[in-house]
Amino acid sequence: MNDDKALLEVEDLHVTFATRTGLVQAVRGVSFSLGRERLGIVGESGSGKSQTGRAIMGVTLPQAKVSAKKLAFDGIDLLSVSPSQRRALRGNRIAMILQDPKYSLDPVMTIGRQIVETLRTHEKVSKAEARERALDMLRAVQIRDPARVFDLHPHEVSGGMGQRAMIAMMLIAGPELMIADEPTSALDVTVQLDVLNILDRLVAERGMGLIFISHDLRLVSSFCDRVVVMYAGKVVEQLKASELRDARHPYTRGLLNCMPKIGFERHPLPVLDRKPEWAA
């Protein structure tokens, strides 16, 4: 699964927001590298996991400052390339799935047109061919009646269907790196698994690198090869998903421990005793 050459290298990444009350450091020195594998980034709200993903994608808000010793995708230094080069990468070689298809799809454009638009932005293809490829892609995300869904607007489909359309749109340009930010959190549990199965199969078939950002440690560890645990803008622990049971950091252990589990009676539930030195 691992290529010798890393697909993505992140070293000492910082994302800083200037606010009225001073600088807020959302990400403080995050480092990791990614091959053609599935990497999970886990943390609670405010841990900086989403900002890490956004900085890699290049969609950090303009008022924030991104800096890093190294932020390289396939050898390309993402921080020094021109905006137009960055734009050419975005959606083409690096793609991103967001949490809620209700907000991430354009409400006034049919699903088909959105997928075709992505494809035609990055590749010179005829309209007829683009349509064919969009229909194929919809089929690949297991939409049973792609021709019908192609002409629907996002509000006419369910959350699970919308998220599949989103995956189709993101995969159509054949990206090498996919960043999925809470891709299933807005979905029902049973639909969640369908969407994860589709994502899993496509990532494996196409040999993509995947960054799976989530608050759900258990879900991430069952899906990913490796897990990065973030707390207060920093990486507190990196480990193989299969070795999560042997997590060392008290935050990781606490997070695993505090969730109710079917068949394990614990009253009261253990709670996390946050230590100031974790954030130091």
Binding site: E44, V191, L196, D200, L219, G254, M259, P260, R266, P268
Partner: protein, 248 residues
């Protein structure tokens, strides 16, 4: 054991959409009862119909032996209170915690407000320091504690909980669940709790009802669910899904 809350053949219709199709349920006094199902299954609508926030077109609802009419009397809200899912949406952003807690007391003309506010804040683990803060100065977990304090301040006997922790981080969720268990034990409350998370329901409730498309799929005890002794495929699917992702 008497029923604290019973619902018989409840129907809720929005225009032509039947959100609840004749649902019946009985919650015993002091019991904690769970409702599970996917979005659109009608579990929240059931809670809202009980409080009068959703229109019931037929069926009867009985609370502590009294059959409810079309409109709810004030006395009903002293018996039954609700905690909503999203503490970012359920607390007025321009009111202090004090003002938020005063409101139910003013509506019901309760005199010893001062003492009750202090007690309620204390009970949810916030203390006096939070009394004159605004909701936006509080974290999600603290807000949900305020929402619970507001529900408790009228000293109800039944608490309706609509996904009370799903907007919270896992570690904060544990704290709020512990708090809910503690107040239930101390005040001998009856809970009717909605969640999409089977693990939370088995942790918090003795019995539960699985719903789908506005109908009851089955009712189970928590131990039946834990032992996978379920009879419907739909429940089995939910159980499987709650175990996380398995690569095929």
């Amino acid at each position: 054991m008497t029923a604290a809350l019973s619902v018989e053949g409840l129907e809720v219709v929005f225009d032509r959409f039947r959100a609840l199709k004749g649902v019946s349920l009985e919650v015993r006094e002091g019991e904690s009862y769970g409702l599970v199902g996917e979005s659109g299954s009608g579990k929240s609508t059931l809670l809202r119909a009980i409080t009068g926030l959703a229109p019931a077109s037929s069926g009867t609802i009985t609370v502590n032996g009294k059959v409810l009419g079309k409109t709810r009397e004030k006395a009903f809200y002293r018996e039954v209170q609700m905690v909503f899912q999203d503490p970012y949406g359920s607390l007025h952003p321009r009111q202090t915690v004090d003002r938020l807690l005063q409101e139910p007391l003013a509506i019901h003309g309760i005199a010893d407000g001062e003492k009750r506010i202090e007690r309620a804040l204390d009970e949810v683990g916030l203390g006096k320091g939070f009394r004159f803060r605004y909701a936006h100065q509080l974290s999600g977990g603290q807000r949900q504690r305020v929402a619970i304090a507001r529900a408790l301040i009228l000293e109800p006997s039944i608490l309706l909980l609509d996904e009370p922790t799903s907007a919270l981080d896992a570690s904060v969720q544990a704290e709020v669940l512990n708090l809910l268990e503690e107040v239930r034990r101390r005040r001998k409350l009856t809970f009717l709790m909605v969640s999409h998370d089977l693990a939370i329901i088995t942790h918090m409730c003795e019995r539960l009802m699985v719903m789908q498309n506005g109908e009851v799929v089955e009712t189970l005890t928590a131990s039946q669910l834990i032992g996978h002794r379920v009879s419907e495929d739909y429940t089995r699917n939910l159980l499987r899904a709650s175990e996380g992702f398995v690569r095929v």
